[in-house]
């Protein structure tokens, strides 16, 4: 027992050394025009020592850990549930008035990801279609507003429905040819489409501003009143002037947050209805067995397209809002890694689980922000956490609780 343990630990230590040496142990430095190696054996040693100790202790730790149960939600009745939802909403609406600007700002971002996560959840979680190009629709939404503003001076509120519609249309048109493909082929084609959309945005420089995108996009107005220090047009009235308040940029931040919250809640409500409707059942059935569905007369193409289109639409809304919040859209915001992040939210939350997706979205946006101090290690940790979460909790934070219709038996 101990022997095999030791052998295992030694093996792990050797591997650690081999892994650490080329990246940390032999540090490359510039010396004049040449590159030289500066050994840092201390680091290698500590890494090896750490791995050795952990590996030796692992059998002990392993036993402990496996006994740690994951907290599960207590069952709640329908009315309790309503109460909880209302309470959560109340808190969500009121806290920004007491919180700091930074926190509200991050929360707004989190809400955008909630919206995106719930949108992708329809496609991946409900309908089981692996979409790696979701960010493409997000981009379409963002650029729809950006371009409409830039070329036609549209306001956010005018552009928002169109952004959703444009993304949905894209989803529909792209979905049409590609949804025949299965599993991973679908994944890679959607990835391809996502990239193509981004590359077009980069290269249609005359239209889209190329890599730099479109900037100075205005924030949403409150019933036509701008939340800005000075009106953008001579003679306009701004929100604070109208209310007779001192200008405070915090107003804008809170307003944006509340809007994001409203959009996220709307998304939640719709997707929550969808999964209970016949279409939701059809998605689920299709995910389980397409052939059986066909034999029952369900048209897989139509059903998949509906999921794809709806998901895209939510991405479009999210995109338009993102453009308004950032004040700038550029292709860099819509790289594949963004798709991966949204997908990670869905999987981490527990595919199909809406509450899980919400929690995961908040975690994934807030955690890296909390780790700002460790800026260098931030992304390293982020990747690591993604792996560990998958290893420890493959079913997601809150695995989907299927919604049943029950009958008396």
């Amino acid at each position: 027992m101990l022997r095999s343990n030791l052998r295992h630990a030694l093996m792990a230590t050797v591997l650690t050394a081999l892994v650490v040496i080329p990246i940390f142990g032999l540090h490359l430095e510039r010396a004049g025009g040449r590159t030289v190696v500066q050994p840092q054996w201390g680091f290698v040693f500590w890494a090896c020592a750490l791995v050795f100790v952990v590996q030796m202790l692992r059998p002990l730790l392993g036993k402990r850990l496996s006994h740690l149960a994951w907290p599960t939600l207590p069952p709640v009745s329908g009315s309790q549930r309503m109460g909880l939802v209302l309470a959560a909403l109340l808190i969500a609406v009121s806290w920004p008035f007491f919180a700091g600007r930074n926190a509200v700002d991050i929360a707004t971002l989190a809400m955008i990801y909630v919206m995106l996560g719930l949108g992708l959840n329809i496609v991946v979680g409900f309908a089981g279609l692996l979409d790696l190009g979701f960010v493409g629709f997000y981009a379409v939404g963002a650029y729809t507003y950006g371009l409409l503003f830039h070329w036609a001076g549209w306001s956010f509120w005018e552009a928002l429905p169109l952004a959703g519609a444009a993304s949905a249309l894209f989803g529909f048109l792209l979905g049409f040819p590609v949804l025949r493909l299965r599993g991973d082929y679908l994944a890679i084609v959607t990835l391809g489409f996502g990239e193509i959309i981004r590359l077009l945005l980069v290269n249609l420089t005359d239209w889209t501003g190329g890599p730099d995108g479109i900037s100075s996009i205005p924030k949403p107005t409150v019933f036509g009143l701008e939340l800005a220090r000075n009106p953008s047009v001579e003679g306009g009235t701004t929100f604070h002037q109208w209310l007779g308040l001192e200008f405070n940029s915090l107003h804008m931040v809170i307003f944006l947050y509340l809007m994001a919250l409203a959009l996220a809640v709307l998304t939640l409500w719709i997707s929550n209805r969808l999964i209970r409707m016949p279409i939701g059942r059809a998605w689920e059935a299709l995910r389980e067995d397409e052939i059986a569905c066909r034999s029952l007369g369900l048209n897989p193409m139509k059903i998949k397209l509906s999921a794809f289109t709806l998901g895209a639409m939510f991405a479009g809304f999210g995109g338009a809002f993102f453009a308004a919040r950032q004040g700038i859209v550029n292709p860099e915001s819509f790289t594949f890694i963004e798709s991966a992040l949204i997908l990670a939210i869905v999987v981490l939350g527990g595919m199909g689980s809406q509450l899980g997706v919400i929690i995961a979205a908040i975690l994934i946006t807030v955690l890296p922000e909390l780790a700002r101090e460790f800026s260098e290690y931030r992304m390293l940790m982020f990747g690591l956490v993604m792996i560990l979460m998958m290893v420890w909790r493959p079913q997601g934070l809150l695995p989907m609780q299927r919604h049943h219709i029950e009958v008396r038996t």
Binding site: V19, I23, V178, G192, I196, L199, L343, F382, I387
Partner: protein
């Protein structure tokens, strides 16, 4: 007008040398996919680590060591392949093995996490900035008339093609005839059944990851020598391209990966040459979409038969 042909040849060569790299990396994707049905998103990072390992080796030896260039390059390839192979092994053990029996998306997310991790791992260890790689093999073969368009075939790129082709032939033979190769074939069909035939599936999987990583390392070293610059983020784009190549050729098929890689390299180069380099990536992905629409399982992929 007589210059059109040499220009075409030059571009073809450019495309093939780029494609050879894609192919080397695509093989890693395809093998892993073939066996455990997962898209190893961190494979591009493995390639990047291979390039770094090569540069570290070179820097340890020193550019003025007096050793013959061939020996230096040989050492770089060898050491990098070994170290990167270890990476392949460790990555599988840490991030994929524990989730192998879960839903496939879980493995995919784990792989994406691994990809982010490795990028920043190298960024922390070796710095996020560009590293320059000295050109060890200057010079080029030259064809054509003085004064007209001369075809330049840089030796560094000749090396890419020669090594890549040699490795691919060796690999194909190996998979076909060795016992390990046959075991991988069985595993890629039905892992569980292969296990019931007495095949050690864990070993086959590790072997696959190691081999794929080694090929990627060779690609990394060769391309670093040829183009002269690397940073911790080069793996990502190349990885996506190589993956695209693998799918283009029919994922799971090794000859498909080679074909896909070369095709993608040439298509990209020609797009840059005859349309505009602004559109080369669009052409690459457009090609992918088109081919999949008409051949839903890639060029050499077996059509999916679902027997109802």
């Amino acid at each position: 007008m007589s210059e059109l042909l040499p220009q075409l040849i030059q571009q073809l060569f450019n495309g093939l040398s780029l494609g050879a790299i894609y192919a080397l990396i695509a093989i890693g994707y395809t093998m892993v996919y073939g066996i455990i049905g997962m898209i190893n998103f961190a494979h591009g990072e493995i390639y990047m680590i291979g390039a770094y390992a090569g540069l570290v080796t070179l820097s340890v030896i020193g550019t003025q060591s007096g050793l013959p260039v061939a020996v230096v390059i040989g050492l770089m390839l060898l050491v990098s392949a070994l170290l990167t192979g270890v990476y392949g092994f460790v990555v599988e053990q840490v991030a994929y093995k524990p989730v192998r029996h879960g839903p496939r998306l879980v493995a995919l997310i784990s792989a994406i996490g691994m990809s982010i991790f490795l990028q920043n791992w190298v960024a922390l260890g070796q710095g996020a900035r560009d590293m320059a790689v000295p050109s060890l093999i200057p010079g080029a073969m030259r064809f054509g008339t003085e004064g007209g368009f001369e075809i330049y075939i840089p030796y560094s790129r000749v090396l890419i093609i020669v090594v890549a082709v040699a490795l691919m032939i060796a690999l194909t033979l190996y998979i076909k005839h060795s016992r390990m190769g046959r075991a991988s074939r069985a595993c890629s069909q039905d892992m569980h059944m292969a296990n019931l035939l007495g095949i050690d599936t864990n070993r086959v999987i590790s072997f696959t990851f190691i081999l794929g990583a080694m090929l990627a390392a060779v690609g990394g070293v060769l391309i670093a020598l040829a183009v002269g610059k690397l940073n911790p983020f080069i793996g990502f784009l190349v990885g996506i391209k190589a993956f695209t190549a693998a799918v283009l050729g029919g994922i799971g098929s090794i000859p498909g990966a080679m074909l896909g890689g070369l095709l993608l390299g040439v298509a990209e180069t020609f797009a840059a040459a005859y349309i505009s380099s602004e559109y080369k990536d669009i052409v690459a992905f457009g090609l992918l979409v088109l081919i999949l629409l008409f051949r839903p399982t890639g060029l050499l992929g077996k059509p999916e038969v679902e027997k109802v």
